[in-house]
Amino acid sequence: MDNPYIPYQVNILEAWYETPGERCIKTFKVTFADDKVWDNWNHLPGQCAMVGIPGVGESMFCISSSPTEEGFLRFSIMIMGKTTTALHELEAGDSFYLRGPLGNNFPLDEWKGKNIVTIGGGIGQAPLRPVIQWVRDNRDDYGELELIYGARSSADHCFKVEFEDIDQSDDCACHLSIDVEEEEWPHFVGFVPTLLMEVAPSPENAIAVTCGPPIMIKFVLENLEKLGFKPDQVYTTLENRMKCGIGKCGRCNVGHLYVCKDGPVFSYEQLKDIPEAFA
């Protein structure tokens, strides 16, 4: 990136809705309009991009595909404000723009040989998806892989098709939940932190990664501690309002850390003494 403020154009290969409703989530599979961009593009799970449309604006989103999935990037975007509303109007064949990859990544190299459990809620699964994909694509490098995920209802589940595939596979244990009972729901009913205690993953040689709504994170962190996970075994991603994404514009800091540069991936060890981290 010569000029880190100039975005690349990407073309939408496929677009589909993950969830319905007022706060619906749409996934975009995109490729760079200029093929040459791929030559210098390197991202790792956890990294983000500033996604936007000139004339509308830009917002920061995690890249929800793993670099092991070649030839495209994925973004799963919940409708929230001006930029996300404009993005949701786009279909396959349309374009938008992005700057990236930005921020740090999950330390997947350090995690080699360890058991990994991901604990996600709602759209919080978007940054966890590339972790799961990466581990499944480098299966021999890691120990057990366990996925815990919940949303309000089965309709609110992101990545349903992939979860079915994971559930049937033998390389990842899949534990799904919904908040309120539904007919024919074969999985757990209750909140994610409760499901976590049911599954009760062992902290032995393990890493827990959690992303989701703040209230879920709060109880997941408490429960992980009860299960014996140490703060340096627990990872999460933070989000804040961002403008530049490259540590200049000032607004995304939690304490002395810039979410855009020092994050979005943090260990709980880094965050536990920063009161603003979960503000």
Binding site: P54, G250, N253
Partner: protein
């Protein structure tokens, strides 16, 4: 580096010579001193303390185009920075030059900011030493600066109290400019430099306000829940003047603007951590919901986070935030409470 002398009578000649570049100098605008581009030496107003608005806008404009676009056309046109060419800021105070040196660290950190750095490259800073403190709220000596400070400056002029300014070149850029001005300059006397040192010492003694910042950066994180933040921000209006007029404040927003024709630009513009919108999420959640959190962030950013990352306090003690706060919030009073807490 060379030391020369400039007769006060020749100041207009020098400004005339400098006006072959883009020349920014203190000037009056509605009775307020600002730094602005001048064509005519007569426009310069040299009987000033310091400008109300710092000259940071020369390198970090209040609004700046990042690129242009046309709706419907996928091409983005990058802004050609630096078309204004070589620029001289004449007469800025040492604190404001030092502020640029401090902010440089941020704009060079990891990602080079091409807009800021291009402007910085094009600008030569000609400082005017503060023989008298420009304001009763100056405290540069408390935060690593001095009324005769050289950090960030290319040339330093000192009013020798007689009919001359001493002109000290401090950098290569400064030497180059000094050469350009050579026909208007005379040789400095043997004792001039030692006289400058005396004047500097005198000037430091005239600074009225002070704080001992030692230990503040380390102490601040522990005062997160202290009552002082609520008290310090109780009268704050959230107007943001303390940040807009701060020479080290560098926060910006990015917005897209589109005209009816479909022509548009993405631009960045000064923003302020004292505004509620600054941190509000798309969901409506605001991690800094009240002025208490915003004031705490402003002080922490300057006196703890910035030193933590860049080894320097992001405050040069110019006193503008104290002088111009409409409700008399005083950063030194807040820091005093931090020290005593």
């Amino acid at each position: 580096m060379a030391v020369k002398k400039l007769s006060k009578e020749k100041i207009a000649e020098v400004l005339q010579e400098l006006s072959k570049f883009r020349l920014i100098a203190p000037a009056l605008s509605d009775d307020v001193v600002i730094f602005k581009e001048i064509q005519d030496p007569e426009e310069a107003y040299l009987d000033y303390g310091n400008s109300t608005v710092p000259p940071k806008k020369v390198v970090f404009p209040q609004t700046e185009t990042l690129f242009r676009f046309q709706i419907g056309n996928p091409e983005l046109t990058e802004k050609d920075v630096g078309e204004e060419g070589t620029t001289v800021i004449f007469g800025l105070r040492p604190c404001d030059a030092r502020a640029m040196a401090i902010v440089d660290k941020l704009f060079r950190w990891d990602y080079d900011d091409p807009y800021y750095l291009k402007r910085r490259e094009l600008v030569t800073l000609v400082g005017m030493a503060c023989v008298e403190p420009p304001s009763i709220n100056c405290f540069c000596t408390s935060v690593g600066g001095s009324p005769f400070g050289k950090e960030g400056l290319d040339l330093l002029l000192t009013d020798m109290g007689d009919e001359h300014y001493l002109v000290q070149a401090l950098t290569e850029k400064g030497e180059k400019l000094q050469e350009t001005l050579a026909p208007h300059l005379g040789d400095a006397g043997d004792k001039d430099e030692s006289k400058v040192e005396e004047l500097a010492k005198e000037a430091e003694g005239k600074i009225l306000r002070s704080i001992n910042p030692e230990g503040i950066p380390e102490k601040l994180p522990g005062l997160w829940d202290h009552g002082l933040w609520k008290e310090a921000s109780a009268s704050c209006l959230g107007c943001g003047i303390c940040t807009f007029l701060c020479p080290t404040c560098h926060c910006f927003d990015i917005q897209d603007e589109v005209e009816e024709s479909g022509e548009g630009r993405r631009a960045r513009m000064w923003d302020s951590c004292m505004f509620s919108e600054y941190t509000v999420h798309a969901s409506g959640h605001n991690p800094r919901p009240t002025r208490k959190e915003r004031t705490r962030n402003r002080i922490n950013h300057k006196y703890s986070y910035y030193p933590d990352r860049f080894d320097v306090i992001a405050c040069v003690g110019c006193g503008r935030c104290i002088n111009l706060c409409p409700v008399n919030i005083d950063i030194l009073d807040i820091l005093e409470q931090v020290v005593e807490a």
